[in-house]
């Protein structure tokens, strides 16, 4: 088995596990399982009886959720970085300064602008290929504004 075949098999396995958990635990509209993070959270809450309306988990659910922990961790990092990138781009579009953004992100005042700009550059480089259809829209002074994402 080549590395690519191994990866493909792993992805199919992840997809099947998420699908299995979704089929049992989906309670729309409040609970809809769309990824590994949702699947792990739902089963882990259900095993400690902390999820209203969820089925009683069986060992196969626990096995599927355990196998998704690593994927959920990776997805959490990706989701978080994309959200951070979008928020910085939206703040720039709203006319906020790098200094303001850096301070909101928790950087020290003296290095805030530089750190924020550097963080944006790193995130942009990492996610540039996913940004084509991710325009931004926000409200500034009561008006809806569509923002073109600034290149670092």
């Amino acid at each position: 088995m080549t590395r690519q075949e191994g990866r493909a098999r792993l992805l199919i396995g992840e997809h099947d596990r998420i699908k299995r958990i979704a089929q049992r635990y989906d309670r729309p509209p409040a609970r809809v399982i769309v990824g590994a993070q949702d699947a792990v959270r739902e089963v882990s809450h259900a095993v400690v009886n902390d999820s209203y309306g969820a089925p009683v988990p069986d060992v196969l659910d626990v096995a599927a959720a355990l196998a998704l922990v690593d994927r959920a961790r990776k997805d959490a990092v990706s989701d978080h970085e994309l959200a951070e990138l979008d928020l910085i781009a939206a703040a720039l579009g709203a006319g906020q300064s790098w200094q303001w953004i850096g301070e909101q992100l928790g950087y020290e005042t003296v290095a805030a602008a530089r750190s924020a700009r550097s963080r944006y550059k790193i995130l942009y480089a990492r996610w540039a290929r996913f940004l084509d259809d991710r325009a931004l829209v926000i409200e500034v002074d009561g008006q809806q504004v569509t923002i073109e994402r600034m290149q670092p």
């Binding site: 009683v56 626990v62 959200a83 928020l87």
Partner: protein, 139 residues
């Protein structure tokens, strides 16, 4: 200066809906970012997604670091609960280790070590009783 709790609470009031739960900073940050990228007016109207304001961006950006830490913390606690639930159901450390993706030869040892590390990280975490259907335990 408002604290994290107040910022999450404010974003909850603006963004949470019966079909959109905001339990803490990870969801709050994601909701504001998702709202900023919801450019389709029909979707925005249908899903009742508000337009993010500068005040929302202020709150969400301030929650970024907290959200990053909490997202990992929630997943670590979920992993701990799942591992202990599996043990409660009678599964072996080897079985748990293989599900967690460790190599077969070291699965038992790695799973035990991981559990010990998680227990050390959350010494006060009590799961109490587990709710599990163990009528069809399969290995």
């Amino acid at each position: 200066m408002r604290d994290e709790y107040q910022r999450v609470e404010r974003l909850q009031e603006r963004y949470a809906k019966p079909w959109r739960h905001i339990l803490g900073s990870p969801e709050a940050v994601r909701e504001v970012a998702d709202a900023a990228t919801t450019t389709n007016e029909v979707s925005r109207h249908h899903l009742e997604v508000p337009l993010p304001t500068v005040a929302d961006l202020d709150d969400a950006l301030s929650l970024v670091a907290d959200a990053r830490n909490k997202a990992m913390l929630y997943l670590n606690i979920a992993e701990l609960d799942l591992v202990e639930a599996a043990r409660f159901a009678g599964q072996s450390w080897q079985w748990i280790g293989e599900r967690l993706g460790y190599a077969t030869s070291s699965a038992e040892r790695s799973a035990k070590a991981r559990h010990q590390a998680l227990r050390a990280k959350f010494p006060g975490h009590e799961t109490g009783a587990f709710t599990l259907d163990i009528s069809e335990v399969r290995s």
